[in-house]
């Protein structure tokens, strides 16, 4: 085991160094078939069942480009404000690894399909940072290795390894930023906000399932530090295995404090691949490389160049859906939100959920109330993303409808939501099962009112004598008798009615 790394206090890091970030995000497209063959592009399944001669790299097999994947790549490029290449080619990236069937990855090298774009990223306090995009290129995913035996689950120390090629050949788009500089203390936050914005964008254009937990979005973070007076970038490390938004932020922050401690101590940073460790938020060195990897890129001779016509590109541009930032602006206007209210909404990741709830029939204010308050607290307590709570926008809308129609009080509605979250079924099912319905049946209420009036004839007389305020005591008695399920307003009306008759 390696010794625990020395870390520098974060404030001191920022005082002495400027961080430089470079983020590489791999996105698995959700096309029906793989990048170069007709096999199903689906997550999981029995190992090695979604394979054919091409994605297994069998001798003699050849790739054929998936047109839908090219379309997805162009749509991503356009959403990121990129230029779309008039003409580009695939290239082979040569290196040996058992999860790569051909021992080369069919990728793109110096001729990416999209290049020179940007993405504006909004931080928690509303500050907007422009992240420049270097390129977005097409490539194929590798298979998956499962290393058996050994402590770390990595190949080093494993007794043997199992290979599943179901993922081999899944279409990937790699999106690479230009170096992100000048973000100072906010670098970790910028990194997270960038990946978040990218995820929202990819979801909006519908090209990917964007499930970080299933690896359909994967982030590699290149991090280096430069001393305050330095002119050139420092040596960078590349941290892999960063599999959640929170991890992106943690990984960047950790690397900054680790590298700063080494540099302050007069040491130098080794250019290497590091692995993020979810459990303790640290990064660990990969196997040291003696020499830089030479991938011997050359144009893929098995594929013809891709020359997307301008007509097609413009057609794709014209059919892009509303971008998340445009949508946010529209929603702010439509829902009449203050900047602060919008930020709250964004910070808890509730925009889509509220919109879907509104779509299902709720008013924006009601929907926002539930998601930003009650449910956000719940998500926080459970340490999950808001969207991961086991309740749907339609269910929230249903609860809101029940309150509006008077079938539930706010207090009961909260109980219903708890029931839904506990897996007891739909809101109506929870109402039934828990017997939470507001008693709105007048005959049942009348019986309770009559009983209460009979039990307290003096109060009945007071009301009859014009002291309407005295009705409160009767209301309380009825509410008690109905275990709080009666609509107090209706109860009061019935009491006045009864006494007067």
């Amino acid at each position: 085991m390696t010794a625990v790394a020395e870390l520098m206090d974060y404030a001191e890091v920022i005082e002495r160094f400027d961080p430089v970030l470079g983020l590489e995000v791999h996105v698995e497209l959700n096309t029906k078939t793989k990048m170069f063959c007709g096999c199903a592009n689906e997550f999981g399944g029995e190992p090695n069942t979604k394979t054919c001669p091409t994605c297994l790299g069998l001798p003699g097999s050849l790739p054929v480009v998936n047109g839908k994947a090219v379309e997805g790549a162009i749509r991503i490029g356009l959403s990121l404000n990129c230029e779309i290449a008039q003409w580009c080619r695939f290239a082979r990236k040569n290196y040996f690894y058992p999860d790569m069937p051909k021992n080369f990855q069919t990728s793109q090298y110096d001729e990416p399909i999209a290049f020179d774009g940007y993405l504006d990223v909004t931080l928690d306090d509303g500050e907007v940072v422009r992240v420049e995009i270097e390129r977005a290129h097409m490539e194929e995913d590798t298979g998956k290795s499962l290393h058996v035996g050994g402590a770390t689950g990595r190949i080093h120390g494993a007794e043997h390894s199992l290979l599943d090629y179901n993922r081999a050949g899944v279409p990937l788009i790699e999106i690479v930023t230009k170096p992100i500089t000048g973000t100072g203390a906010r670098a970790p936050e910028v990194a997270r906000a960038y990946v978040t914005a990218l995820r929202d964008l990819l979801r909006a254009i519908g090209v990917s399932d964007v499930r970080m937990d299933q690896g359909s979005v994967r982030c590699d973070a290149n991090i280096s530090l430069m001393a305050k007076d330095a002119e050139e970038f420092g040596t960078r490390t590349e941290t892999k295995n960063v599999n959640s938004l929170r991890s992106v932020e943690r990984a960047v922050r950790y690397e900054m404090t680790r590298q700063a401690a080494i540099l302050a101590d007069g040491g130098s940073i080794r250019q290497e691949t590091r692995h993020f460790q979810e459990a303790d938020g640290t990064t660990a060195a990969g196997r040291a490389k003696e020499t830089a990897e030479d991938y011997r890129y050359f144009p893929e001779p098995d594929l013809v160049p891709i020359a997307p016509s301008r007509e097609w590109v413009e057609q794709l541009r014209a059919t892009l859906p509303e971008m998340p930032w445009e949508r946010r602006k529209r929603i702010q206007q439509e829902w009449k939100l203050s900047d602060e209210a919008l930020r709250d909404l964004l910070n808890v990741g509730a925009v889509d959920l509220v919109a879907a709830t509104v779509e299902a029939g709720a008013t924006p204010d009601e929907a926002r109330g539930w998601w930003v308050n009650t449910l956000a607290q719940e998500a926080n307590a459970r340490e999950v993303e808001l969207a991961e709570l086991p309740i749907t926008p339609a269910q929230v809308a249903e609860v809101i409808t029940l309150v509006t129609s008077g079938e539930l009080t706010n207090k009961l509605a909260k109980e219903v939501v708890q029931g839904v979250l506990a897996g007891e079924g739909s809101p109506r099912e929870v109402v039934e099962k828990r017997g939470l319905k507001v008693v709105s049946d007048d005959s049942a209420l009348l019986a309770a009112v009559d009983e209460a009036l009979a039990a307290q004839p003096d109060i009945a007389d007071k009301i009859r004598g014009g002291k309407v305020a005295a009705a409160g005591a009767i209301v309380g008695a009825v509410m008690k008798a109905t275990k709080g399920q009666a609509d107090a307003k209706r109860v009061r009306e019935l009491i006045i009615e009864r006494v007067g008759s």
Binding site: P59, G60, F96, P98, N103, D294, R296, Y297, P301, D302
Partner: protein
């Protein structure tokens, strides 16, 4: 020897389709011939007796049921180069690394042959992964030239050409990356055609150099080659580099050529291919062939293709570069040879030790050449420059074809050399493809057709005809006219002069 094996593919097909002879009898005659002579020739790596007889029987049954033959070649026996995958039948590429591998799928060429009712007799010997000009690089021992067992049958497709020269098969499939169909055709006195790149699907052709590899027909006559060409050619969605255009009318061109003169056809003699390094007997045969073309009415002019002399060095950068990547997949992880997997070696070590053991010297030489040429810092000087030369060669062809309809040259500078003669001299071996390589680099169509025997040693010489991309039919028209005239003057096909086999090898 059954007289059936002496017949051309067209003649066999006519007899089978007329039900004068059964496809099973024809297949059996060839299997018997293989049993009788292949110990001496060693054209085959695998003979699929059961599969061949089964396919022949199916053809006979369909004909007996009154069905039309599936193609003009239904029932004709063929030898398939062992670089094309065959479902359920071993495919080794002449390499230890693939020994025992049974592909789970058919190459498109294989599928088309099966669908056409062509009877696949077995898989033919070749230089390992199609790298070589003599079949001496086969891991399973060389093929012997039927004209002289002490000599090479050419390569890499020596097994395919030798099998038809030895009358073991009526037809064969070869693949041509730098001359591997044409040079063996030349030195065995048979016809070999490299179609336009993209004319025949490469799906299932185990890649040596993807941008150069092209499968094509080997036959004893130009017409037979044309018939086979039409069976295997055509657009294939499984190969992105295949051409989505109609197959050139090669059979019609061959039939027309055999019965016509060459009036109005402009023939260019490539000035750069001759002189030092060419055997006098080869040059005399070539000159006689050019005279024959002129006698047929062709207008013959000399054409300069100045960059052709750079073709060989450019080829030896491009082909090994692509090969170094294509052959990376042979790593013991999924199929083929695996050595040192005894629990004491890592996956990386098993890969390395397997490749050390599984590949022969020439394959390793080319992997190293290619790896070096693609390395960072060397790429521009080597691979990059070679690609520029490739463009210049293509321009030479374009310019030449503005003036002439076809170009001609000797197919290879020498007749069949002796086994072992060039094994230790790679440069001498590489020169065998001097004249054939330009057409691979430019992707145009080219043919080798027998031009007689060399006065030096009595061995076959080939005439190379080159045509523009997608004008494959011109090869057949000129080739067939020349063949008819030459055979008439010589009193019969050259290949009938092959010595009777059966001596010691």
């Amino acid at each position: 020897m059954s007289e059936l094996v002496k017949l051309t593919a067209a003649e066999l097909a006519a007899k089978i389709h007329a039900r004068e002879v059964s496809a099973v009898e024809v297949a059996q005659a060839h299997l018997d011939r293989i049993a009788a002579v292949d110990d001496h020739v060693h054209a085959f790596l695998h003979v699929d007796t059961e599969g061949a007889l089964g396919a022949a029987k199916a053809v006979d049954e369909k004909l007996a049921a009154g069905e039309q033959p599936a193609s003009p070649l239904a029932g004709v026996p063929l030898a398939l180069k062992d670089v094309l995958t065959t479902e359920g039948v071993p495919t080794t590429c002449g390499s230890r690394t693939l020994e025992g591998w049974i592909p789970p799928y058919d190459a498109t060429v294989t599928r088309k042959l099966r669908e056409a009712g062509v009877v696949i007799l077995g898989k033919t010997n070749m230089d390992e992964f199609a790298m070589g000009s003599s079949t001496e690089n086969s891991a399973f021992g060389p093929t012997h030239n039927p004209w002289d067992h002490a000599r090479i049958p050419g390569g890499s497709g020596g097994g395919s050409s030798a099998s038809i020269a030895a009358f073991e098969a009526a037809l064969a499939i070869g693949t041509d990356t730098g001359g591997s169909i044409r040079q063996p055709g030349s030195v065995t006195g048979t016809v070999g055609v490299k179609p336009t790149y993209g004319g025949v699907s490469r799906y299932g052709l185990v890649a040596f150099s993807s941008s150069l590899d092209q499968a094509g027909p080997c036959a004893r006559t130009v017409l037979d080659a044309a018939l086979l060409h039409e069976v295997i050619a055509g657009y294939d969605v499984m190969d992105s580099t295949s051409i989505d255009a109609p197959v050139p009318p090669v059979v019609a061109a061959a039939r027309e050529g055999a019965n016509a003169d060459l009036k109005g056809v402009r023939v260019g003699v490539v000035k750069e291919f001759g002189g030092d390094g060419y055997q006098p007997g080869v040059l005399r045969s070539f000159e006689a062939a050019v005279e024959q073309l002129r006698a047929l009415g062709a207008e013959v002019v000399e054409v300069s293709c100045p960059h052709f002399t750079y073709a060989l060095p450019a080829y030896y950068l491009i082909a090994p570069s692509e090969a170094s990547s294509n052959l990376a997949r042979f790593d013991a992880m999924r199929y083929g040879l695996r050595v040192a997997d005894d629990g004491s070696h890592s996956a990386e070590e098993v890969m390395s030790l397997t490749r050390e053991k599984g590949f022969g010297a020439e394959v390793k030489r080319r992997i190293m050449l290619g790896t070096y040429a693609l390395s960072s810092g060397y790429y521009d000087a080597y691979y990059g420059s070679a690609q520029k030369v490739r463009t210049l060669i293509t321009r030479d062809f374009t310019t030449a074809f503005e003036k002439v309809d076809v170009l001609v040259s000797p197919t290879t500078p020498t007749t069949a050399f002796k086994l072992g003669e060039r094994v230790d001299d790679p440069m001498a071996m590489y020169l065998a493809d001097l004249c054939t390589i330009p057409s691979n680099l430019a992707g145009n169509a080219a043919m080798s057709v027998p031009s007689g025997l060399s006065g030096d040693d009595g061995l076959p010489v080939g005439l190379q005809i080159m045509a523009p991309a997608l004008a494959d039919d011109r090869l057949y028209r000129v080739g067939a006219a020349y063949e008819a005239a030459r055979d008439a003057a010589a009193g019969g096909p050259l290949v009938h002069q092959v010595p009777e086999l059966g001596g010691t090898k």
